[in-house]
Amino acid sequence: MADKIFRVNMTDLTTSVEEVPADWAGHGGRGLTSTIVAAEVPPTCHPLGPNNKLVFAPGLLSGTAAANSGRLSCGAKSPLTGTIKEANAGGTSAQLLAKAGCKALIIEGQPKDDNWYSLHITPGNITLNKEEEVVGKGNFDVVETLTERLGKPMGIITIGPAGEMKMAAANVSVKDPDGKIRSCGRGGLGAVMGSKRVKFISVDSMDGKVEIADPDKFREANKTFAKALVDHPVSQALGTYGTNVLVNIINESGGLPTRNFSSGQFEGHEEISGETMHDLIKERGGRVKHNCHKGCVIQCSQVFNDAKKKYKTSGFEYESIWALGADCAVDNLDHIAEADHLLDDIGIDSIETAVAIGVAMEAGVLEFGDGEGLVRILREEVAKGTPLGRIIGAGAATVGRAYGVTRVPVVKNQAIPAYDPRAIKGIGITYATSTQGADHTMGYTIATNVLGVGGSVDPLSKEGQVELSRNLQIATAAIDSTGMCLFIAFAALDDTTCLPALIDLINARFGISLTGDDVVSLGKYILKTEHDFNTAAGFTKEDDRLPEFFSLEPVAPHNVVWDFEGEEIDTFWDF
């Protein structure tokens, strides 16, 4: 299928399939969503109003046989941060959209009535239908009901109750190969989808295929690329312990935020660690390895069963476990798994929501360590949209304001994840300067600050952190455009065959001749496009700062504070 732009106008309820403008042809994934949002969304618009647009784009390599290429990007102006936003997830939809010839799906406008709608995409075609049956349902029920109704396996992109209620932390949820949920998690894009009154999008690629300009070169490059991924020791550890292998090493480094960022180590770290989780999964007949999309050779996901050996959750990530665990001082992995399952079903960001609950714990809404209370709040308050549930669902900053808390770990209103910036300073630069609010994935300095991947930069020193974060943010923006999982970066940082093979894949797919320099230029272009959008939306360099408490409160065990001056942070943009 030739690539097209699929467009839906929810104001007049029309659809169209358009040629790809020349300026967009070389883009995919985050590069394309950010290009389209920057081109078509007024930066000062209300994120939940008719002028915002929700954009989906598979990556440049999605839908091909390239290993790990099944990430789906979703972009808009964020209702949480007010900045431009891209969040990506695995699942089956990126590959199916690409096979259906959908280079991007743009949802614009807003219905004048209170009806809910669904979209259905097939090769070269998109239809809009009224929806009643699955409105109000949780994500697992939506996927089950639709799989039965549609009669064959399809891609499903949906919002849960959080998105319907336009909570600022709501996910866009994506069906995975097992009918479970992966999440475009950060920045409340589910609320934007809810504001468009679109409950779900189904994708049937039928016999559509992605055209490859040079199949032999593509096959050869993919072999080299997949080998680099499989051979890297980080990939092997990810397949065994998942990302949760990080709990113990981040705790040991003194950078594991605990009890709403009041300490850098958690006494219950061993109980919630990747090692403990691995043993429990085996004991309960779960799956240690699991892929979130077809073609993943790393398989960092897993299937975690409860004590009765029944499915409880999958894609049980370090950042979610940290947020529900150490940040809320909960040391019971079953309570954390129950919460993770509920968050998937409600369709709300596991980082934002759990950090918000950590702030609520500090305010005395419930005790630190109360795992059962945390689960109850998700089930009885957030899922049902009670006043407390809506305050938590609006994110950590809103909870802080509602309860008068000063220790509120957010940048541009988005919750800081899993790594304390006082003890791991490079990631603080990423949190401060990211175009999308605090987000570790934007420039994962943990690799070099803590894990010894891609060299080594002392986490407690200021030296080299701005440059490290800048280089990683540029590279990440480019990788996020390919449809590749970010975990290819570990191999790319250490194995010299990995990145050239990735560039060969893109060249063979499109019959072009990109170089390494072109990829760096692409990354810079994306960051600057996003930054320009934010500037036009009213953001200044004064917004590129961490909350004051990081400068005032030393964090144990290293007893260090955040000590970067504003002018030092601002040098990030010198490129």
């Binding site: 020791p233 550890a237 312990y241 990080l246 040991e252 894990l451 010894g452 080594s456 970010l486």
Partner: protein, 74 residues
């Protein structure tokens, strides 16, 4: 001298999570690793008292040494 040694991920298999162990006064990080039968090239990160350290760092009495294989996530 007494050193607390912590092991992580698959380094724990057939060994231990955490142990207080006795070593001669001039012991280095590499000595401890080799003494445990761990291949040095499998080691990703070592920390003494929660600070990253080089493999040839010397240990002193009471130190806590953490030894990790090459791991990642995020």
């Amino acid at each position: 001298m007494k050193i607390t040694v912590k092991l992580f991920a698959f380094f724990r298999q057939d060994r231990f999570k955490e142990e207080e162990r006795r070593y001669p006064d001039t012991t280095t990080v590499t000595d401890v690793i080799q003494g445990l039968g761990i291949a040095v090239d499998e080691v990703g990160v070592t920390m003494i008292n929660s600070r990253h350290c080089a493999l040839d760092s010397s240990l002193k009495a009471g130190d806590v040494l953490a030894i990790f294989p090459v791991i990642g996530g995020g």
